[in-house]
Symmetry: C2
Subunit: 457 residues, 2 copies
């Protein structure tokens, strides 16, 4: 049975058990699921069912319920918690790793989050408050501050004993080694520990060439480091190189997914935090500014057409053909823009090699422009009944596609140099630019050769 199929069966059972009120059976079923699967189930249940199932689980297995909420996402997860009294939420949050607790608390309404923090165990709330002091989207904000570290003057055997005596800590496969003031001095793998004689000093077997993340590093940069160097975790250090936390690869995967989503969204004029099931009112409000900007730029394009209204009045078929020029330019620009923006995001494109990229895109634009221009002319000829008009269309298409390629390369590179997210040069702007320029090139050329056109017509 495929995972999706299995989940559908679980979902149907949950719905049925909720309907007939078979709480004991429902609880039994829910408890058998992995938190990630529970999150999927919550996501697909209608709102009231979702709250019902979660409430049952919170009452009887709050640890699992909270883990499911974390997988469900901090923002919608916090929404589901809002109705509960702060002392209960505090109790539940005590059981979570503090990075997960911080993510949820951060999304609670201000009054509630304060009430919850006051009621948590002092150590847990202290850790959460520390994390929340770091800026959003930095290493400090996403790290787990509970990190197992070994003192540098232990032997391998003592290290294994220390590990055996430690309470549960997240993912111990890199063992970080610190000096007496908790400065990070090395790392040793669990496997290495097993392979050497117990009396070997840690200092002899540890690696000192460490890849670390400063707490104030942007999370995207952290993710790139972990991905590039194929790490399972990266230690977070403060400005004095003291070990303060650990960021594990599962968090990095979430970041990589989120950043990819953000890039895809920005190119389309959608804000990064929208989801399929963001409430309609909120979605509409978030998308409206982009559409409003497009209305402004589309009006600009309309003004360009209006400037040539006299020409269109004489040769009305121009209105038919001008849309082809604009549409082709827009699509060629979107292709170039996407490759360039993604290349920047993946660090393939840098300032140093941007000239090479520009040259390439210009050649591609010119090449495809000529091919499509010729075909376009052959289409326009019968459509307009004038071979001369076909030639003007071809010329305008070549110019517009070439301009589109150059603009769609330069604008994101320039934005990146100005430290603005290049994906903000969204398709909305670039395609309007190609509309404006396409109308201008085509109608301008037509106006220039108006006498010939009138003779031909």
């Amino acid at each position: 049975m495929s995972p999706q199929r299995r989940l559908d069966v679980v979902l149907d059972s949950v719905k049925r058990l909720l309907r007939i009120g078979a709480s004991a059976n429902l609880l039994n079923l829910l408890q058998k699921q992995h938190p990630a699967d529970l999150a999927d189930v919550l996501n697909q249940l209608p709102d009231s069912d979702c709250r019902g199932a979660l409430g049952l689980l919170l009452d009887h297995n709050s640890r699992l319920a909270m883990e499911a909420l974390i997988e469900y996402g901090a923002e919608p997860g916090a929404d589901l918690l809002e109705g509960y009294p702060p002392e209960r939420i505090a109790l539940w949050l005590n059981e979570l790793p503090s990075d997960d607790a911080a993510a949820l608390i951060d999304e609670l309404p201000d009054g509630l989050s304060e009430a919850v923090l006051e009621r948590m165990r002092p150590q847990e709330s202290g850790e959460v408050e520390n994390l929340l002091e770091y800026s959003e989207q930095t290493a400090g904000r996403i790290m787990n501050p509970t990190v197992f570290a070994l003192s540098e003057d232990l032997t391998a055997g003592e290290a294994i004993q220390a590990l055996q005596g430690s309470r549960e800590v997240e993912m111990v496969f890199y063992l970080y080694v610190v000096d007496e003031r908790r400065h990070l001095v090395g790392v040793v793998s669990l496997r290495r520990l097993l392979l050497v004689a117990p009396e070997t000093p840690l200092q002899r077997i540890m690696t000192t060439d460490l890849i670390t993340a400063r707490v104030d590093t942007d999370q995207e940069e952290v993710a790139q480091k972990v991905a590039n160097y194929n790490l399972l975790a990266i230690p977070a250090v403060d400005e004095a190189n003291k070990l303060v936390g650990i960021i594990t690869v599962d968090d990095v995967i979430d970041i990589i997914k989120d950043e990819a989503t953000e890039d895809i969204y920005r190119l389309a004029g959608v804000s990064g935090d929208e989801h399929v099931f963001t409430p309609a009112r909120e979605s509409a409000r978030k998308r409206l500014p982009w559409l409003a900007m497009n209305l402004v730029t589309a009006t600009l394009a309309a003004f360009v057409v209006r400037a040539f209204q006299g020409t269109i009045d004489q040769v009305v078929v121009l209105a038919v053909l001008m849309t082809i020029v604009a549409s082709m330019g827009g699509n060629a620009a979107t292709q170039t823009l996407t490759v360039i923006v993604r290349g920047i995001a993946l660090d393939e494109l840098t300032w140093a090699n941007s000239r090479r990229a520009l040259l390439k895109e210009a050649i591609v634009g010119l090449g495809n422009g000529i091919v499509l221009g010729v075909v376009g002319a052959l289409v326009a000829w019968p459509l307009s009944g004038s071979i001369f008009l076909g030639l003007i269309l071809a010329l305008a298409m070549v110019i517009n596609i070439l301009v589109a390629a150059v603009a769609a390369t330069l604008i994101p590179i320039a934005l990146r140099a100005m430290k603005v997210d290049p994906a903000l040069a969204s398709a909305v702007f670039i395609t309007t630019l190609t509309d404006v320029f396409g109308f201008f090139a085509f109608l301008g050329l037509a106006t220039l050769f108006l006498d010939y056109l009138n003779q031909a017509a």
Copy 2:
């Protein structure tokens, strides 16, 4: 010094040392770099320098050179190897894990790859050939077949001894337990092994509730499992549940990045395997079909306009305003399409909840359509000098944005149901659809009310 800054310094030094021919210094510098950093350097060097630096490293530290090539990417990496004699390539490939070797060999020209396989060590070439028998983009193709497994009748102490005696294997933190015919029966963590008494049987401490990947599973599904369940690796099993390989989280990260790139690209009509520095001729050839399709659909839109040529002839300002309707519909559609396609990719949107998504998008479309329609009317009024024309514009905009939202939701969901990649419903098609429909709605309405318009004008 930021990582990017440090790399720029290395890059400049490499260029300088190549220019003055200081091979010993250059080799020294290159050998100090991480394979991932070397790959970045190779990527940013001009082609001849890139081959020069790589050649030097292949001569003196072929293991590091090959690891850098893997990070550089199998396709461009294989390009760089092509000039060398097959016996040397075979020697170098022997040193790589067989999944990496297979990835490179797969990208070599057919004749060369056969010659190389013949010259590799029998065990290595056998492993590579086995991997290449699995379909592309499946678990079998990307797994590492060298996986450390423990026999189920060992004790914890014996297991640690077995581990100490094993040659280097990839990432041993999950220890898989197999029966005498290598069926996968359980997993035990390295940490757990250390915490129990040496005489404890593995069967008592192993987890039997295993998450596995069948060799024929699509790599995207494998990646989703590893990401959802926060795994560091997933065992690959054949149809009889025999353990045949392991897929580690670093490979999963690469898959997630590649799939995100593919989604972004497809939405824009770019094929998944294009990079910023794909040669111009190849890029142009790959993008041309999408543009050609767009030319067909844009011509369709032009025919719609042509059908109303008579109306435009009488009220020429319609040609000015019609572009606003089409452009707004196109952008609203792109927003919806992006959210829906990404929601499907991230498994947030399923068949079960698609009605909810459709309802939401329809409400968003209607809401934003009305707001923008009103503003659009206020813009069109002075632009056209007719309040009546403004009203027609508003009505056409509301209709077109609503249709755009519904089409951009339904088409990808339908494609998904037909097991076609929903991202193929690229913006190219959806925006042409909104062009066609926008022109039709606006010019159609204008024709309907032509008498009023003529009176007003």
